[in-house]
Structures are given as structure tokens and as C-alpha cells.
């Protein structure tokens, strides 16, 4: 176990690398998830407040793609 932690004397370099990787990857994941939740909440409130339009079939809050307005030609 000691040998594993000391990494042949290069512990500072090896473990900082893995620590940085964990920080970057987990950080980006958390930021992406919170960003997604925030915008989905905003969208839900906006759609709830919106006066009903005929062509908008109500779907769940997640697949918000709105094919009517954003379909590629």
C-alpha cells in the first residue's frame, strides 16, 4: 500500500494528475447537469405561462425540441 501511494517517489506528480482529471471531469459534469436543470425549469415556467397555441402538442419538459420551429430544411 505504501508503495502504491508513494508511486516510486513521484507521488506528487502522479496523484496531482489524477486529482486534476477528477476535478475537471466531475466539474464539467456537474456544471452541465445544473445548467440543464436550470434551463429546463425556465422553459417549463415559460411554457406554462404561455397562452395556448394550436400547433404545440404538449410534451414532457425534457425533449423540448419543438419540431415546428426548429426543423432543418
Amino acid at each position: 500500500m505504501d508503495g502504491f501511494l508513494s508511486m516510486g517517489g513521484y507521488a506528487a506528480y502522479v496523484w496531482s494528475s489524477y486529482g486534476a482529471a477528477a476535478l475537471v471531469l466531475v466539474g464539467l459534469l456537474v456544471l452541465s447537469l445544473t445548467g440543464l436543470r436550470r434551463v429546463e425549469r425556465t422553459l417549463a415556467t415559460l411554457e406554462a405561462a404561455k397562452p395556448r397555441r394550436k400547433r404545440e402538442p404538449k410534451v414532457g419538459p425534457v425533449p423540448t425540441a419543438s419540431p415546428a420551429t426548429e426543423t432543418a430544411p
Binding site: Y13, S17, Y18, L36, E40, P63, A65, S66
Partner: protein, 238 residues
């Protein structure tokens, strides 16, 4: 290709892919970390610092993969005006910047004990630093305009101009004398890494790649929802 450009259809496929990508990433990270940190041998020259490779190299590959896909998306956005292409490029950019930062940082942590320096201005290191600035520049540029369409267009042009940097990064170690060593895996004549070290490297590469797919799907969903919010707000204002 055009088929997937429809956001609704894309979301259907993406939501089906998401749990698989996330699961694959988790499994490969566990296996890759175990092999990389515990079950693989130290290098005959570099000792245990070789384990930095299992982070550094996948991060480097992903930094170039992400940029290349963003450049393709930029071309698609400029030529075919696919709405999804711009959403993709914007969603991928922070991930690419993260991979590049990780690559530079771990490279520094590896170079300090082995090369004897944290940083040198050789062609490989400099071109990767340029890649990092291209990501940052793109992210700043798309948000710098009041009209998002103009911001996207400027960003797409920057992405395409910056694409010349990708082959420069890849071949810098062959075209010029550099402190950085040449490629070990994607080279003529096959890899020059012993199998016991190639396995953890490939597992970590798959883990990074599937992590990217899972997170970029989340980010594309957020991007599409943000566009929808924007149109709704415009509709209310008008």
C-alpha cells in the same frame, strides 16, 4: 446526415444513447483506473510517472477529437445552416477546453520530473496551447454579439480557421525537432507500448470518449432548451 439534423429526432436517439454512454464510461473508468494505477507495471525508464500517460494521452486525443468534430459542425452550419450543428459546437467547446487544459496540466506534471522542465516552447506544446486558446476564443466570440446568429457565424469561421492547427499538433513531432517524443500508438508500424500499458491506456481512452458523449448530450439538450426559451421570450415580447 440531414436526418439527424432534426432536433426532435436527434433528441430521441441521444436520450437512448445517454445511459449506455454513461454506463460504458463508468465501467471503463473503473477498469482503466485499476489497470493504470494498480495492475500495470512501471516503465523501464520513467518509473511510475508513466501512469500520468493514462490521463494525459486520452485528454490529448479528446482535445483534438472534440475540436475536429466542432470544425466539421461549423462547416455544416455555414453550408447547410443546420441549427443542431451550432448547438453541438457550443455544447462541446467547454468540454474540449477542459480536455486541453487537462492535457497541458498533466503534461507539465509529467515533464517536470522526466524532462527537467514544466514547459518549453517546442512545436508540440505550443500548438496545443494554441488549441486551448482557440477553444477559449470560440467561447468568448459566440457570446460577444447581441445577435446570436452573428456570434455563431463568427465562431464557426474561427473554428474552421483554427482547424489547420489540428494536423500541426498531430505531426509537429515529426515535422520538427521537438522535446516531446513522437506518437506511440497511432503511428506507422504499430504501437510502441507494451501490451500491459496499452490496455489501461485504451480503456481510459474509451472512458474519456464515452464520458464526452454522455456529457455533450446533456449539454446539447440544454442548448436546445435554451433556444426554445429564446424563441418563446421573443414571441412574448413581439
Amino acid at each position: 446526415m440531414h436526418r439527424f439534423a432534426n432536433p426532435a429526432r436527434f433528441l430521441k436517439i441521444a436520450n437512448a444513447v445517454l445511459p449506455w454512454a454513461a454506463g460504458l464510461s463508468a465501467v471503463c473508468f473503473v477498469a482503466g483506473l485499476y489497470l493504470g494505477l494498480v495492475a500495470s507495471p512501471p516503465d523501464y525508464q520513467q518509473g511510475d510517472t508513466v501512469r500520468i500517460m493514462y490521463i494525459h494521452v486520452p485528454a490529448a486525443w479528446m482535445s483534438m477529437f472534440t475540436y475536429s468534430t466542432m470544425a466539421v459542425a461549423a462547416a455544416a452550419a455555414l453550408v447547410w445552416k443546420h441549427p443542431l450543428a451550432e448547438v453541438y459546437a457550443k455544447a462541446a467547446a467547454p468540454l474540449g477546453a477542459g480536455f486541453t487544459a487537462l492535457c497541458l496540466l498533466t503534461g507539465s506534471l509529467w515533464g517536470a520530473p522526466m524532462w527537467g522542465t514544466w514547459w518549453v516552447w517546442d512545436a508540440r506544446l505550443t500548438s496545443v496551447l494554441v488549441l486551448f486558446f482557440l477553444y477559449l476564443g470560440y467561447m468568448a466570440l459566440v457570446d460577444a454579439f447581441d445577435d446570436p446568429a452573428r456570434g455563431n457565424k463568427a465562431g464557426n469561421i474561427l473554428l474552421l480557421v483554427g482547424a489547420v492547427n489540428v494536423p500541426i499538433i498531430k505531426f509537429s513531432v515529426e515535422w520538427w525537432n521537438t522535446l516531446h517524443q513522437p506518437a506511440s500508438v497511432f503511428r506507422l508500424g504499430g504501437p510502441t507500448i507494451a501490451a500491459s500499458m496499452l490496455w489501461p491506456l485504451l480503456l481510459m481512452a474509451v472512458a474519456f470518449q464515452s464520458y464526452f458523449f454522455a456529457v455533450v448530450i446533456l449539454r446539447i439538450r440544454a442548448g436546445l432548451a435554451a433556444r426554445r426559451v429564446q424563441t418563446l421570450r421573443l414571441g412574448q415580447a413581439g
